[in-house]
């Protein structure tokens, strides 16, 4: 068995927003997984829930959001003491010799992890040797706000949409990163300055720029500074929400390539969120396609671009012009994206789907594996011949 090294398992994530008009069913039953060093691209149109998924798993939801269920297992090496201590009493997943154990962690001693793996009325307690256990995943949804804080930045950091506008205009850029570093790590100012210089070099900024103010930066430079900030505490994973959307194409290309290089160099995991499937095609190893609050397809990037299973994935791709290949008339998708306050019954895509049948209207399709490691939620999956 090949050695899997998971970073994130997301299972049946569901989150709604309460608004005056009604309940917006923004994230519905979203499941995916991400391994160490992998880049996942979450793609979909505005309002499909891709940013909401990120906010839900980082527990950065606004007041009117209601978390309704699901698990987010965040994995680290089982030898990580702080991580194990945090996991005691919480639902966990443990990876041991390629086998997955699930349950509640009762105790974490120097040598052992004690797991209550009771399930289906059967009582079972596992005592696992800590040296043998490869990865320990703790359910982030069960953590308190206090326990969650160190996960952000050090575990998972996020580059927000239009993050370049989030730099404080009255502080020097370098000082802002130093402040972030000192909040999360026991580090002196000179050490922090040295670290910022390293980070600047990593993202391709001149170290002199540390002592400049944001208004002296161009758009691309600000985006680089924000990336440096996200990298500051050496996170296992970065979520980048539309990291290059406001940038011109030449700058976008440079920054995406640099992010990819940094990711490979540090063997980091990434989630790229974008509406642009061309960008996703370039950076992602795995792709998740979202529509109307749900993940409709998930799998390896090559497979999904070559043989999409879900009709929406295919529609999205055939609506995208390219500068390469033959010039073809693009097929427009009829209708409008769904209103998530009153989403369509059954499969949320069925009113716009050319292959919809009666069952699509009635029942929600199960999100399951259609081809090896290619998942989709569809009653009438596309066969290879359709493309």
């Amino acid at each position: 068995m090949t050695k899997r090294y998971p970073v994130l398992h997301v299972e049946n994530l569901t989150m709604h927003y309460l608004t005056r008009k009604g309940e917006v069913k923004a994230v519905e039953n979203v499941s995916f997984s991400l391994d160490k060093g992998e880049a996942l691209g979450l793609v979909g149109e505005s309002g499909c829930g891709k940013t909401s998924v990120a906010l839900t798993l980082l527990r950065l939801l606004p007041e009117n959001a209601r978390f309704l269920g699901g698990h987010v297992y965040f994995f680290r090496d089982s030898t990580d003491e702080a991580h194990a201590r945090r996991a005691v009493g919480k639902p966990v997943k443990i990876l041991l010799d390629g086998q997955e154990h699930q349950g509640r962690l009762l105790e974490a001693t120097r040598s052992h992890l004690v797991l209550d793996a009771s399930a289906n009325g059967r009582r079972e307690q596992l005592r696992l040797n800590r040296q043998d256990v490869a990865r320990l995943g703790v359910d982030l949804t069960a953590l308190s706000d206090e326990e969650m804080r160190p996960i952000r930045w050090k575990g998972i950091s996020m580059i927000f949409q239009a993050a370049m506008n989030s730099l404080n205009p009255v502080y020097k850029v370098g000082d802002q990163i130093i402040e972030a570093l000192q909040t999360h790590l026991p580090i002196s100012v000179p050490e922090a300055r040295e670290r910022v210089a390293e980070l600047f070099q990593l993202v391709g900024l001149d170290r002199q720029l540390m002592d400049r103010y944001p208004h002296e930066y161009s758009g691309g430079m600000k985006q680089r500074a924000v990336i440096a900030m996200a990298l500051a505490c050496e996170p296992d994973m970065i979520i980048a929400d539309e990291p290059t959307t406001a940038l011109d194409v030449i700058v976008q290309d440079k920054i995406l390539r640099e992010m990819r290089q940094i990711q490979k160099k540090l063997n980091m995991s990434m989630i790229y969120i974008s509406h642009d499937i061309a960008v996703i095609a370039e950076v992602a190893d795995k792709v998740g396609v979202m529509y109307g609050g749900g993940l409709v397809e998930f799998g390896p990037s090559d497979a999904i671009f070559k043989n999409p299973i879900h009709p929406y994935t295919k529609a999205l791709m055939s609506a995208f012009p390219s500068i390469k290949g033959e010039k073809v008339k693009l097929a427009a998708l009829p209708g409008e994206p769904p209103d998530l306050i009153k989403p369509p019954s059954g499969c949320r895509f069925h009113p716009r789907c050319p292959f919809a049948t009666e069952i699509c209207e009635r029942e929600v399709p199960e999100f399951r594996e259609h081809k090896p490691s290619q998942y989709a939620a569809c009653w009438n999956p596309l066969s290879k011949g359709d493309r």
């Binding site: 061309a278 370039e282 090559d302 671009f305 999205l316 390219s322 500068i323 008339k329 409008e336």
Partner: protein, 347 residues
């Protein structure tokens, strides 16, 4: 005002001819201060648009493409240069007679008459429609401005236009407000408003860049269909080369106020000659993970064309610049065959 009477119409005739167009914006240091320096937003730009042609202006932000579009509909007054456009000689009658008019110098009534023939579609359909007007009021407003038809005729015409742009049944849209419509529907309303006076020329400034992919294609196809049906010419302004390839017959690539390359879309995209165009095209992501791109690096970033030195605008970033480029003026557009023009000494 220069006018030339014309009688005939052909498919290949020139509708718009832009000659040495310039627009400088003064940079003032205070309210009463004299302008000491100028942004050369559009600097000696010349091109032609044929009847029924979609001509694309491509470039990164700040290259002057939107300023050029605004000059062509006279939302801005040019600093110098000419914009000749074919307009009906007698708009009140149904005469086919046309004449070239230099719209750069039009004023008063003549300017208003000219505006019947030229319309603009803006980027952001959330901001370009008045939120307190109904769809009917928005689309019928040009009819009111030009005093065309009575209420019944206007309603009929608006309904006709709404069906044309795919807002059917029109009755269900007439008395709605913009906030009740989606982005794609709003942009269709903007297109209906632009079409209602039967213009011969439309300036479309990034009309689909705010729209989602599945909606965008419908709007792009609608604009292509309108061209087929009514022979409208577009100046299509976009930063997205893939969109330009889909929409445009010919494109011009702008860099800091200058056109650096111009030609048939497919020719320019598949065989770019100018070092800037090459770098730009090589940076466009391809929606296919199987394709490996070879990006061409250029140094530096886009600056602002504030009192640019009298040499090639791309000199500071150019990988193939020579002594000659440093000594000479900005190179003129030179014909390289097949209608492919490039402004570069080294190509």
């Amino acid at each position: 005002m220069i006018t030339v009477a014309l009688q005939t119409q052909t498919r290949t005739e020139t509708l718009v001819r832009v000659e040495h167009l310039r627009k400088l914006f003064p940079l003032r240091t205070g309210v009463f201060a004299r302008a000491r320096s100028f942004i050369h937003a559009v600097d000696d730009v010349s091109f032609e648009i044929k009847r029924g042609e979609i001509f694309g202006l491509i470039g990164e932000s700040g290259c002057g493409k939107t300023t050029t579009g605004s000059l062509l509909v006279r939302l801005l007054d040019p600093t110098s240069g000419h914009i000749y456009m074919r307009v009906p000689s007698h708009p009140e009658t149904n005469s086919q007679e046309e004449q070239y008019v230099d719209i750069a110098t039009l004023e008063g009534r003549a300017l208003k008459e000219f505006r019947r023939n030229v319309q603009m579609i803006f980027q952001d359909p959330y901001e370009s429609l008045n939120p307190r007007m109904t769809v009917f009021d928005i689309v019928a407003e040009p009819l009111g401005i030009h005093g065309i038809g009575n209420v019944y005729e206007r309603e009929e015409r608006v309904a006709e236009l709404l069906s044309l742009v795919g807002l059917t049944p029109p009755e269900s849209f007439l008395f709605r407000y913009p906030h009740e419509l989606s982005g794609g529907q709003r942009q269709r309303v903007a297109i209906a408003r632009a079409m209602i006076l039967n213009p011969s020329f439309i300036v479309a400034d990034e009309p689909t860049s705010m729209l989602d992919v599945s909606i965008r294609t419908g709007v792009m196809n609608l604009m292509l269909d309108l061209r087929e049906e009514f022979g409208i010419s577009y100046l299509y302004i976009t930063h997205d080369l893939a969109v330009a390839r889909y929409m445009c017959d010919r494109i011009a690539v702008m860099y800091l106020g200058k056109i650096v390359e111009l030609g048939p879309t497919e020719e320019v995209i598949q065989n770019p000659l100018h070092p800037y165009t090459r770098a730009l095209i090589s940076a466009v992501p391809i929606p296919d993970p199987a394709v490996e791109r070879q990006p061409i690096e250029i140094k530096g970033g886009v600056s602002k064309p504030i009192d640019p030195p009298p040499r090639c605008r791309f000199y500071d970033r150019c990988p193939i610049a020579t002594e000659r480029c440093a000594q000479s003026d900005h190179p003129p557009l030179e014909d390289k065959g097949r209608g492919h023009f490039v402004a570069c000494y080294e190509i």
